[in-house]
Point group: C2
Chain length 249, copies 2
Amino acid sequence: MTLADANDYCPGISLDCVIFGFHEGRLKVLLNKFSRYTKWMLPGGFIYKDEHVDAAATRTLVNRTGLSDVYLRQFYLFGDVNRTNMDENEDMLIRQGFSKDDEGVSKWFLQRFFSIGYYAFVEYGKVEAHSAMDEEVAWFGLDHIPPLYTDHNHIIDKAIATIRSQLNSIPIGYELLPEKFTLTQLRIIYETLLDTKLDRRNFQRKILSTGLVYKSDEVYKKWGQKSSALYSFDKDKYQDAIKNGISIF
Amino acid sequence: MTLADANDYCPGISLDCVIFGFHEGRLKVLLNKFSRYTKWMLPGGFIYKDEHVDAAATRTLVNRTGLSDVYLRQFYLFGDVNRTNMDENEDMLIRQGFSKDDEGVSKWFLQRFFSIGYYAFVEYGKVEAHSAMDEEVAWFGLDHIPPLYTDHNHIIDKAIATIRSQLNSIPIGYELLPEKFTLTQLRIIYETLLDTKLDRRNFQRKILSTGLVYKSDEVYKKWGQKSSALYSFDKDKYQDAIKNGISIF
DNA sequence: ACAAAAGTGTTAAGCGTACACCCATGG
DNA sequence: CCATGGGTGTACGCTTAACACTTTTGT
């Protein structure tokens, strides 16, 4: 953003997106970093005064990933008074070349912020991680997330906890996987989010019994192993399961 | 609130509480109404600039019910640009005796508001519904909620939907029922929230098998029927189930 | 030959569901 | 004696969890 826009935004409210993707057998999160600041942070943004919050989240996502029409859900409002350490914040601004004597900057960035947490599922292969001029963008495996700016580690944890609690009743995978995928890939997503090992055979039976996926006629060949069947989601049944819920675990 | 306080509050953010109580075999919601305005509304409030959002919600609850230390959970941020009809809002202000030419009033009340939804479970019998000078307070059965101010009907629906989705994994009833209660009372709460009839016998078995409740030595006599056993929650196990989750339905 | 991963099937135990009978009380 | 609601138990069927053997393929 440019600070000139500050007047167009709702004051005191930001949003942060926890964007999940699946790559190389791992669930990953998209983070970005101002080039001259050391800490990584969640892609976030502000809300225009005449903009729906969900629209602002979508806009943020489109900016960072080039993708529209993805699965995006609000999951929590972070409203702790001290969620952002203002010294840390000031440090970031100065490193980015702002002057803390600039009243506009200080007023905007050094105020208390509420942050609305969103999580998103995107197809890794379709993302074109847009690095803005002064920004780096990168994916981080859930096991390798560094200490982030302000309370962003906490926001990720809360996102995962929320998703986990919904995993029984809401299907997952459609937005994270390519059109054709193996059941092992899907199982890894569940295992990662539930932080458990799942029995390969029982998992397959359960997933297939839901009718949400069907076997394609293609197979996945790789590694030095037996080739495995590729499956696809039945889009209609999947949407239906999102709407009306489904019991999986 | 008095408008003099407006400068102490975070602008553009309010909170609304859906307060549930159980009385006469029905689940009810606490609403209030400005004496000179026709529509009922959810008890709500604003957030002090140096106050945690949860603390503001607790403060609101204490004001309206006299109860502290109740079960209170944030469940959603309502961020639609047009969630409040400003004409309706202005009408309310005028009826309450404010002038729309009063700049302070207009600026504060006619701005766009985000509202943070909280739901609370309280013990009906312990509530002392505080009617402020200009306010009425009353309980409404879930089947008999009138058209409310702005999007408050929607907020209640969303609260119920949220609670329903958690009913599988989070126990309920401890905060809603008196210390000793019948399993029928508990079952009615579940039936109301799930909008289903549950088999009396199977429900009892399931609840008892969780170990969350134990039979007291007292019985409940009333009506012209057989007296029924009174149960109590095992507080430790209940807290544990809230923390770690439990599978009930 | 071996390791790694995939395909397939069986079994026993536990859980959910549906249902029946008897008891107590007040009108 | 009947309606209403509570207490208790059973039986069937489905789901879940635990588990073994075989196949494919690259090194």
